[in-house]
């Protein structure tokens, strides 16, 4: 079997007495959506930070595209092609929607240190940015101020920024949160296609979306992965039902 | 340099450090509890010195002067907190910088208007003047020794206050979680005023004690304020322990640098060059110390790790 695009091996992380990650291992293979679910406080966000950069595990390794990236920071992992979306939107709220996507395109171009030509007149960047906006359905909002977007539109914009980077893998932290039913159905269809461009590690609370999309699911409880498997396996898993689905439903 | 001279410089450094601590403690408390950067803290130092000089001139009592300095600075602190500072807690640091810069202008010019541009003098009382002989045969001015004693006592008191009292518990809670202390039913607005007044009183005391060594004049507060910033950067923002360690470190480095560097350069340079290079370099020494701390530990010696 080919090496997975992204893999996490035996990661541990604690904050004082709190163990946020305990021997966590999971991987992301070509063409798949791997969903990460778990109750609040299970350590999902901590795990995402260790995968995307920004938080060093106490032990264990993170590999991306066949390379040990554990010691690399967020910027280096992004430059290698890790596209991330945030749970709480991290967008330049004072800027226009277009400027936010242009930023992604600019980062991907690797040449942000250009000082004199207006960025909005850079055809290549602009095309990348506009294509990404069109794909998530935000073309009409391009010139709006980002702070004027609805909560759901901000989630779409998060995804659009990640798209501009043409990443080799996506790490999405609750992209459905705050979307209405139709919004999350549309995003579900979109992610369903997107997995063929690059695999997606999807942290999500919306169980309908998870069961509709995921090739595999990992369940994180109190910092440990208690099960990994297909949708049917996870639905049937007794420990999962007890620890997680039982609480949730 | 002889042992006696070195011991004297060490004590001078300690005395300088202890005074810096009195100023830095208030700054770091106010930042730790309220998240406010207060440039006008130096003005409170100045107010303490002027109040002391005025009361000493009127009453002839040094003790009364020192008490007046504490009272005046605390009162000014309360006034400023209620009228201006309170509106700044929720603002960004830029607004805090500007508003407190404006306060400096108002305080400085106001003081100049009241007292004129000429420096005032605060005399050391007879019972504290003259040298005492310390063990080891060191002759040292009693007044400076008293400052060291008072400073260390205040530091001890402050640690006890924070560790043992109800107010201390509230201050510590305020540093870690502002919403929690509101939930505990603490009157936050009163707590903030008290903390601000406490910081102001300490700065006022420092102003009065220093006023007897230097002259009392408008603008005396800001150099101390900036040194207190250096202290806080070295010690770590919000940490009283860091403020104490930083103060002593800065006090000793500055004093010893000024005393020793010119001589040190004199070992391999012309005396005139050694004096000028040595004194120029020693004036920069604490900032170099700060830069080194920044490189090694950007959050300061006792600051929370990022």
């Amino acid at each position: 079997m080919a090496e997975p695009i992204l893999s996490v091996t035996k990661i541990n992380k604690s904050f004082g007495a709190l163990k946020a990650s305990i021997d966590v291992s999971l991987d992301l293979r070509v063409g798949e959506i791997h969903a990460l679910i778990g109750p609040n406080g299970a350590g999902k966000s901590t795990l995402i930070k260790q995968i995307a950069g920004g938080l060093q595990p106490d032990s264990g390794t993170v590999r991306f595209l066949g390379r040990d990236v554990t010691a690399l920071d967020t910027v280096q992992r992004a430059q290698m092609g890790l596209g991330r979306t945030f749970q709480i939107s991290a967008l330049a709220m004072e800027d226009s929607v277009l400027q936010n996507v242009m930023l992604g395109a600019l980062g991907a171009s690797g040449r942000p240190f250009r000082f004199l030509r207006p960025v909005l007149k850079d055809k290549a960047l602009r095309e990348t940015a506009e294509t990404a906006l069109a794909r998530v359905g935000l073309s009409e909002q391009a010139l709006m101020r980002t702070s004027d977007l609805s909560h759901g539109q901000r989630r779409q914009l998060e995804v659009a920024v990640a798209l501009t980077m043409r990443p080799r893998a996506f790490v999405m932290d609750e992209p459905m949160a705050g979307l209405g039913t139709s919004g999350s159905q549309r995003l579900t269809r979109f992610l369903d296609e997107l997995r063929h461009e690059a695999p997606i590690l999807l942290v999500e609370h919306d169980m309908d979306a998870v069961f509709a999309l995921a090739d595999r699911i990992s369940v994180l409880v109190y910092g440990s992965v208690i099960a990994t498997g297909t949708v049917d396996e996870i639905r049937a898993h007794p420990e999962v039902r007890r620890a997680y689905l039982g609480e949730e439903e | 340099m002889s042992f006696l001279l070195l011991a004297e410089q060490l004590l001078n450094g300690l005395q300088f450090g202890v005074m810096l601590f009195l100023t830095a403690a208030g700054l770091t408390l106010v930042f730790g509890v309220m998240g406010l950067i207060n440039l006008a803290h130096g003005s409170l130092f100045m107010i303490g010195a002027f109040a002391a000089a005025a009361v000493a001139a009127a009453s002839g009592s040094f003790l009364l002067a020192v008490m007046a300095s504490i009272a005046a600075a605390a009162a000014a602190g309360v006034l400023v907190e209620v009228l201006v500072i309170r509106r700044l807690y929720a603002r960004d640091h830029l607004d805090q910088v500007l508003a407190t810069f404006a306060l400096i202008l108002i305080f400085s010019e106001g003081t100049r208007w009241l007292f004129g541009s000429f420096p005032l003098f605060l005399d050391i009382p007879d019972y504290l003047s003259g040298p005492v002989t310390l063990p080891g045969g060191i002759d040292y001015p009693l007044y400076r020794l008293t400052i060291i004693g008072v400073g260390l006592l205040v530091a001890l008191g402050l640690f006890l206050l924070i560790a043992r009292t109800r107010l201390g518990i509230q201050i510590r809670a305020g540093e870690s979680d502002r919403e929690m202390i509101a939930a505990l039913g603490v009157n936050i607005s009163r707590l903030y005023t008290v903390v601000f007044a406490l910081g102001a009183a300490l700065a006022g005391l420092a102003g009065a004690l220093i006023g007897a060594i230097q002259s009392v004049q408008v603008g005396m507060g800001e150099p101390v304020l900036i040194l207190a910033f250096v202290v806080i950067v070295i010690g770590g923002i919000g940490s009283i322990k860091g403020a104490l360690a930083g103060s002593i470190l800065v006090g000793l480095t500055d004093t010893l640098g000024r005393a020793l560097l010119p001589g040190l350069f004199g070992l391999f340079m012309e005396p005139a060059d050694a004096t000028s290079i040595g004194s120029a370099l020693s004036s920069m020494l604490i900032y170099i110390l700060m830069a080194v701390v920044l490189i090694v530990r950007p959050t300061g010696l006792y600051g929370a790790r990022a």
Binding site: F115 | R112, I237
Partner: protein, 327 residues
């Protein structure tokens, strides 16, 4: 044309027309006053790049202002005493030529900003404010205790430096030089804000995390703008020293840093012409209030307090409404 653009145009033209009128009316003092406004505005435009676009609250910009001033003072004093600046390992002569002085001022400020910025930007927020203030103070004390160039007393230059083809001793010609530089720097600053670099920097001010996630290092963006900002303020310092034919440690003092920041705030943070409006207002106040009372700084303080507490956005923000900041 937005109201802000209109305001900027009126401001720019007014600042040009007034000294021309003063020249015609033979009021050289008014020309000098206008030149002061232009130079201080230039210093503010420098800070505004770091502060407005980069979100870097630097309270140490007097360092660059002073370095620019001393670049002029040192070079010109050596030229006027016919002694070389240094003889080993190679000879450097002083100079009275403005363009050369400007170049030295800009390069020296850039180097200082690189070192100060590289250290200060390891931190953020309040630390950054305190550290920039402290480094400014370090240079201030250095200038005071270094006896070679006047120490506390500063350095005087007998004759204003020269610019090829112009008579710089004529106030209106010197004004025009300064005005042209301000215009060029404003243009540069507008282009910078609209450039790819400006986009990334402006985003880094709002959300550092996002910028990292798209593979750009906020630290490098900030250090770059800090250096550019220092260069511009340094150039302003050289011109200011030339205007007064005098440089002293007071150019390096924390009050100077505070005042440069006040220009930016009075005018409006992140507004292209904010520092111009701010410097103009500052000089007007100094002139008008200073004539009324010796203690005019009290009124300045009250006004500043009022702007911070009640009229955020400064003069331009109040007149032109919110929105439309550059970037």
């Amino acid at each position: 044309m937005t109201r802000e653009t209109l305001f900027n145009a009126v401001l720019g033209l007014g600042l040009f027309a007034f000294p021309l009128w003063a020249w015609w009316a033979e009021e050289p003092f008014m020309i000098t006053l206008s030149t002061r406004v232009v130079i201080l505005a230039l210093a503010g435009v420098g800070l505004n790049l770091a502060l407005g676009l980069g979100g870097l609250v630097s309270l140490g910009h007097a360092a660059f202002f002073g370095i620019g001033g001393y670049a002029m003072g040192i070079l010109a004093s050596h030229a006027q005493s016919y002694t070389p600046l240094m003889e080993f390992p190679f000879v450097i002569e002083g100079t009275k030529s403005m363009p050369v002085i400007w170049l030295v001022a800009v390069v020296a400020s850039a180097l200082a900003a690189l070192v100060i910025g590289a250290l200060s930007l390891r931190t953020s927020g309040v630390y950054f404010i305190m550290i920039t203030l402290a480094f400014g103070q370090m240079l201030f004390y250095f200038a005071i205790s270094w006896p070679a160039y006047g120490g506390e007393d500063g350095l005087s230059i007998y004759v204003r430096n020269s610019f090829p083809g112009l008579n710089t001793l004529d106030p209106i010609q010197f004004f025009l030089i300064c005005y042209a530089i301000l215009g060029a720097v404003l243009l540069l600053s507008a282009r910078l804000a609209a450039s790819p670099f400006g986009l990334a920097l402006n985003a880094a001010r709002q959300t550092s995390e996002r910028v990292e996630t798209v593979g750009i290092r906020p630290y490098r963006l900030r250090l770059t703008v800090f250096v550019i900002s220092g260069m511009i303020t340094g150039l302003a310092g050289a011109l200011f020293a030339d205007l007064n034919r005098f440089v002293s440690p007071s150019m390096l003092s924390w009050q100077t840093s505070g005042e440069i920041m006040v220009f930016v705030i009075l005018g409006g943070v992140a507004r292209l012409f904010g520092p111009v409006a701010g410097a103009l207002l500052f000089i007007l106040l100094e002139h008008v209030l200073g004539g009324l009372s010796e203690y005019w700084h009290i009124y300045l303080g009250l006004l500043l307090l009022g702007v911070v507490l009640f009229a955020r956005g400064g003069v331009i923000g109040t007149l032109a409404g919110q929105g439309g900041k550059h970037g």
